[in-house]
């Protein structure tokens, strides 16, 4: 396992996703209300590019006709068969116990720390004021 800088926090606006390739794997990095999460860009169902799907909310109804929108922007909908996944945990809505998208630990590191430690990124310029999104793969 190693840590990889994928973007500065400004690059990934809230409600968006950036897909990067690390160690040959495509990973989608999501900004959910300024918290960052990362998922492998492959749907566990049939391998669709999961992270190119729509970022949506939880549409629920405790009773027929009683529609509620919950957790705005925290769900990911596969671009193919529309399976829904919790961006935070990778859990599938429909089978939370047995189906999930592969998640990766995702941290925000101050640029300063990165420049100093043994995990310096190869090509991303490091500026002391900025914060960076770092993924562990």
């Amino acid at each position: 396992m190693s840590r990889h800088v994928v973007a500065s926090v400004e690059e990934i606006a809230p409600g968006t996703c950036k897909v990067v390739t690390i160690k040959g794997r495509e990973i989608g990095v999501f900004n959910v209300n300024n918290e960052f999460f990362a998922l492998i860009n492959r749907c566990p169902h049939q391998g669709a590019p999961l992270c190119r799907g729509a970022i949506v909310s939880r549409l629920v109804a405790p009773s027929p006709g009683d529609y509620r929108l919950e957790r705005p922007g925290e769900m990911l909908r596969c671009p193919w068969h529309c399976w829904e996944f919790d961006i935070r945990t990778g859990q599938s809505w429909c089978d939370p116990d047995s189906v999930h998208a592969r998640t990766y630990a995702c941290d925000v590191e101050p640029g300063e720390a990165l420049a100093k430690g043994p995990f310096a990124a190869e090509t991303v310029p490091v500026e002391v004021e900025q914060k960076y999104v770092v993924v562990t793969v």
Binding site: A61, P62, P64, D66, Y67, H81, C94
Partner: protein, 374 residues
């Protein structure tokens, strides 16, 4: 296989109303006059879905000398109840009164049918129970009739036909489900169509053979409607029995609606649970017609795929012709499943039967081996 050693519960028998005139004594005075004024008592209200003389609808050795099959209590007792040593038999009336366009006329005749069943069947054989016949076009009047009939504990179920005016899950039908759930009565959805719509999206078939085969597809649509409209969410204690639906089509059906649900769930967001889970909890099937495959190995696979030993309820579907002799139980059922299908599952599904059974054993009429003293 002959089920008689188990003294099964037969969950689908069809008494026939000999003529509409037979209902006259059981109608309110107003409707008796209304009907005779119009000469309706002379009408044969046979359902298109069940032409009485079609070979499928009357096993040759069950055909009476006169009148429609199933109209004679003594024959039903001999052919069905006695042959199979059934401890109970549930009577389901299939009659056009249920589907008449005029709601009040339909309701009046259905009331008459329920009174007729009680007086001429339930009163004459303690093994018999019945489903409540209701006007399918008026959920409100249906709910009233359910409430009225339910006072007689020998009515154990509400009877609906599978294909009528609207898919049965529609909210317009919810007064029926509300009342049934409140009273602890299962909804029995029986094969049959009011033929207000062609049997499929491709139009009207030529032959009865096609219509009958299609009944299974009709049930698929009906069950989809119950699930997607949220009937089991709104009425979680409701039990639904699919009667004369066919059995072997069921696993592939469950796979497909699970698959669709995973992608389309958000359209009907009250469907939180996987549909097959809801089905295994709330839905039951009667065993005839089984639509048996070619081999016993296939039967075994289908039963495993159905995935619940509580799903199937024994039925003969008397006098319809789905088996010969006393072979009312399909070949290839594992022994541990047989007693469940014949006795336990029906008792679990029909609380009023369970209460009768309890009363039987309390009064010492049932031996330690579960058999009744004759």
């Amino acid at each position: 296989m002959d089920p008689s050693p188990f003294q099964p519960i037969d969950c689908d028998l069809h008494p026939a109303i000999p003529t509409t005139r037979a209902l006259l004594p059981y109608l309110d005075a107003y409707w008796r006059e209304h009907i005779t004024r119009r000469g309706l008592e002379a009408d044969n209200l046979e359902l298109s879905s069940f032409p009485a003389n079609a070979p499928l609808n009357c096993r040759p050795d069950w055909r009476p000398e006169r009148g429609p099959a199933g109209a004679d209590l003594a024959l039903l007792q001999r052919h069905a109840l006695d042959t199979f040593q059934s401890r109970y038999g549930i009577l389901n009336v299939l009659n056009g009164a249920q589907i008449l366009h005029s709601e009040d006329l339909s309701a009046a005749l259905c009331r008459g049918i329920n009174r007729w069943i009680a007086a001429e069947w339930l009163d004459r054989d303690p093994r018999l129970r019945a489903s409540i016949t209701v006007p399918v076009r008026s959920p409100e009047l249906a709910a009233e009739e359910i409430e009225r009939c339910a006072e007689d504990k020998r009515f154990v179920q509400v009877l609906l036909l599978s294909q009528t005016e609207m898919p049965l899950g529609r909210r317009q039908y919810w007064p029926v489900y509300r009342m049934a759930e409140k009273l602890g009565l299962p909804i029995g959805i029986h094969a049959g169509s009011a033929q207000l719509h062609p049997p499929s999206a491709t139009g009207w078939f030529s032959y009865y053979l096609e219509d009958y085969v299609q009944q299974a597809q009709g049930f698929a649509g009906t069950l989809n409607s119950l699930l997607t409209e949220g009937v089991f969410v709104k009425f979680p204690k409701l039990k639904v029995v699919l009667i004369e639906s066919g059995v072997t089509w069921f696993p592939a059906y469950m796979w497909r609606i699970n698959k669709t649900w995973r992608g389309v769930r958000a359209e009907t967001p009250w469907q939180e649970r996987m549909p097959s889970e809801v089905i295994r909890e709330n839905v039951r099937l009667t065993t005839q017609p089984f639509d048996a495959p070619d081999t016993v190995a296939q039967v075994k696979t289908i039963l495993e795929e159905i995935g619940s030993d509580r799903m199937l309820l024994f039925s003969t579907d008397y006098p319809h012709w789905h088996f010969d002799g006393a072979d009312a139980v399909p070949e290839g059922l594992p022994p541990e499943l047989i007693r469940k299908i014949l006795v336990d599952n029906p008792l679990e599904t029909y609380p009023r039967l369970a209460q009768s059974e309890l009363a039987q054993s309390e009064f010492g009429l049932t031996g330690a081996d579960g058999r009744r003293t004759p």
